[in-house]
Symmetry: C2
Subunit: 377 residues, 2 copies
C-alpha cells in the first residue's frame, strides 16, 4: 500500500475519486455495468470456457448478454454500458453488441477473473465519480421488465444519497446456492436498510431464512461510483489500491486492459464479502421481476416455456411419453422415451444425462474432467 | 404354380431335390446356414439399415456375425457355412469372413427380405439333399459353447432320420416377444416331439407357458435339406415353387443372386408359420447354452458384463452414481449422473435415452422417423 502511494498515477487517481459529496442532478442517466466474467460451468456441456453462459441463447433467440444489455438500452434512462469481461471474450462481446446494434461505452478486459469486488472497482474507477452505476451480472434472466425498472427507480434516491443499494429477490424455495439478505428498517418506498447479509447457507438455515422473510441476494447493485470506491477503500483497501495500480489512468479509452501482472496480484473477492457485509450504509430494494440466475439446468427448466408434458425442448428432439424434462441439443438428435424429470443436454462432443433435481452435480463431472485436463470444458 | 411347372429349370430342380430317403453316413459334417438378413431396428440407433445388428460388436470385440460363424467353425464337425443375407450387405459379410480368416462356402444374396421360410429354402435348394443344415440367426448370442454343441449332437440323430429339429430355450421370464414350444413325448436323449408351437403370446399366456414348462422358440434348427424342402412343399407349396423359380439352377456358384422380380413375388413368411406349425415330423431339443437374441437394449444389458453399479458401459463414458444402466457411445462422450435403469446410447448423429425396461419402445421412435423418411435409420 505504501509503495503504491509513491506512485504519482495512483495519487492522481485517488485524488480524482474523492467523494464529491453533492448528489448529481436527478436527470443524470444511470450507467449500466455488465459483469461478463463468469464461465457458468453449471450449464456445462453447453457452456464452455470458450463460450460462457452469457454468450448462450438460453431463453429464446438472444444471448443472455444481449438480453441483459437490452434491458438497460433505453437512452432516456440509461447511458451506454460498461462491460467487464475476460480478455479472451473481447471479440465475442464486441460482436454481440454490434450484431444487436447496441452501443457499448467501454469494454474492460480482465487478464483473469478476480471476482466481483475488483471487477466493479475497474468500472467505477473509469466512470465519473458521481455516475450512478447499475451493476448486473450478464447471465441472469429477468422476465418482468417493468418491475425491474420500477425497482431501479425505487433504488435511485438512496443510491444518489450515497447508499450502496442491493436488489433482493423474494425466495421461491430454500435455495442453498444463494446468499440471503435480512431487511431492516424502511428508508423509503420499497427501500430498506440491510440488517444482515448471509452467505450461502446450509439447507436448514435456508429454510429458516425463507420462513423469516429474507430476500435472495441477486448480485445486482445500484450506487454512485464514488460511494462504491469509498466503501471499498474502507473495507478492502488492498483491493482498492491494487485495482487502481492495475488500471492506471485509462478512463478515456474505450477498451481498457488492466496490467496483467498487477491485476493478478489483487485478492479475488466478491463485492458481498469485500464490501456489502461490512458497510453500514447499504440498502435493499426487493425486486419481484421474474428473476432467475439460470444457474442450473433445473433453473433453466423452471423459467422456460413448457410443452404439454411439462418439458422444455430445444434443438432436434423426439420426446415420446416424456414428462418434466429439459431436453436440448445442438449436436445429435435426441430421442427420449418414457423418461421423467431428466436433463438431457447434447453438444457435438458431449451428452449429459441426469435428474433435473440433481443439476448442481454437474460440477462433479466438470471437476473430474478438469482433473483429466479434458479439452471439452 | 402350373406356369412354373412348364419351366425346364424348375423341373430339373424339383427332380434333384427329391428326398433321398436313406440317411447319410454319420460322418457327414453339418452345414451351417447363417441367416443374416435382419436389420435389428430394436437396437437403433446403433443398428442401422446400412449396418444391421449382426454387423455390430455388441458383446466384446467381434461382430455378432463373426461370433456366429466362429461357433460353427470347427472343421471336424462343420462344413463351410452358407450365409443368406441382403444383397446390400454382401461386401460387409465377405469382409467379416475375410478379416476373421474364416471360410465361406456360399453367399446367397436376397434382393429383399421375404422372411425365413424362403431364405432357408434358398440355402436348402443349393445344398446337397442329404446335407444336414444347422440354421441359425446371425445375431444371437450363445455364451456356453459346449452346451450348444451338445444340443446339436443330441439333435443330430433325429435330423438324420428326417425330422425337423428346433432348439428350445428354457425361459427366464414371461417374454411376449418370442414364440413358445410345448414339448411332447420323448424321442431320444434330450429330444422331444413338439406338441405345439405358439406364436408370440400376450403377457398372461406367456406367464402360463413359463409355468407350464414351455420352451422359447429360438429360431435355430437342424434338419436335412431335403426334409425341409419336402415339408415346405407340403405346407407352403407357393413358397417352395417360388423360391425354386427365383434361384434357378445355381448350386455351383459361390455367390447366388436370386432373380429379383421372381423373388419379390414370394410370400414372406417365417419358417415357424410356413412349416413348423403344420409339420407333424418335428422335434425339439432344449438348449441351456446362455442364449440371448440380444433383441433389445435391456437384453444386451442382461447378457453383458457389469461394473460395480450393475452398469454396462461402452465407449467414452463418465458415470457418477449411476446404477443398473446401459451406457454406450460411439459418438460424443456420455456423462451420466445419478440415474438408474436407463439405456443411454449415442452415435455421432443420435442420442437415445429411455428406461431399460421400456427398451421395446425404441420401435415407436423408429416408426416415427420412418414416417418422416429420416436418414438416420
Amino acid at each position: 500500500l505504501l509503495g503504491h502511494k509513491q506512485n504519482p498515477k495512483l495519487q492522481n487517481a485517488l485524488e480524482r475519486q474523492k467523494l464529491s459529496g453533492a448528489a448529481p442532478p436527478h436527470a443524470r442517466r444511470i450507467t449500466p455495468v455488465i459483469l461478463s466474467g463468469g464461465s457458468g460451468s453449471r450449464l456445462w456441456p453447453l457452456s464452455r470456457k470458450q463460450r460462457p453462459k452469457q454468450m448462450l441463447a438460453l431463453a429464446g433467440e438472444r444471448s443472455m448478454l444481449e438480453l441483459t444489455a437490452a434491458r438497460v438500452a433505453d437512452p432516456e434512462r440509461y447511458a451506454e454500458p460498461i462491460v467487464v469481461t475476460a480478455a479472451g471474450h473481447a471479440l465475442d462481446v464486441e460482436a454481440c453488441f454490434e450484431q444487436a446494434g447496441m452501443p457499448l461505452h467501454r469494454l474492460i478486459l480482465e487478464p483473469e477473473g478476480r471476482n466481483t469486488a475488483p471487477a466493479i472497482a475497474l468500472a467505477a474507477l473509469t466512470a465519473d465519480p458521481a455516475d450512478l452505476l447499475l451493476v448486473m451480472p450478464s447471465d441472469h434472466l429477468i422476465k418482468d421488465e417493468a418491475s425491474f425498472q420500477q425497482a431501479v427507480d425505487e433504488a435511485r434516491p438512496s443510491a444518489e444519497a450515497g447508499r450502496l443499494v442491493t436488489f433482493g429477490i423474494r425466495p421461491t424455495r430454500a435455495e442453498t446456492g444463494y446468499g440471503y439478505i435480512k431487511r431492516g428498517e424502511q428508508i423509503a418506498a420499497g427501500t430498506y436498510k440491510v440488517d444482515e447479509f448471509v452467505e450461502k447457507p446450509a439447507a436448514p438455515a435456508a429454510a429458516e431464512f425463507v420462513r423469516g422473510g429474507y430476500d435472495w441476494n441477486a448480485g445486482i447493485f445500484l450506487f454512485r461510483a464514488d460511494a462504491y470506491l469509498a466503501a471499498l477503500r474502507t473495507h478492502a483497501p488492498d483491493i482498492f489500491v491494487g485495482t487502481i495500480a492495475a488500471v492506471g489512468i485509462a478512463d478515456d479509452q474505450r477498451t481498457i486492459r488492466p496490467d496483467p501482472a498487477l491485476f493478478r496480484e489483487i485478492r479475488a473477492q466478491s463485492i458481498d464479502r469485500a464490501v456489502m457485509e461490512h458497510e453500514p450504509n447499504v440498502a435493499v430494494v426487493t425486486m419481484d421481476a421474474g428473476w432467475s440466475d439460470v444457474g442450473t439446468w433445473q433453473a433453466l427448466h423452471q423459467v422456460s416455456d413448457h410443452d404439454s408434458g411439462d418439458n422444455t425442448v430445444g434443438g432436434e428432439v423426439v420426446a415420446l411419453d416424456v414428462k418434466g424434462s429439459l431436453i436440448r441439443t445442438e449436436g445429435p438428435m435426441i430421442v427420449a422415451i418414457g423418461v421423467e424429470n431428466l436433463a438431457i443436454v447434447a453438444t457435438g462432443d458431449v451428452v449429459l444425462v441426469m435428474p433435473l433435481s440433481e443439476s448442481q452435480r454437474v460440477s462433479e463431472a466438470v471437476a473430474l474432467l478438469t482433473s483429466r485436463s479434458d479439452p471439452r470444458l
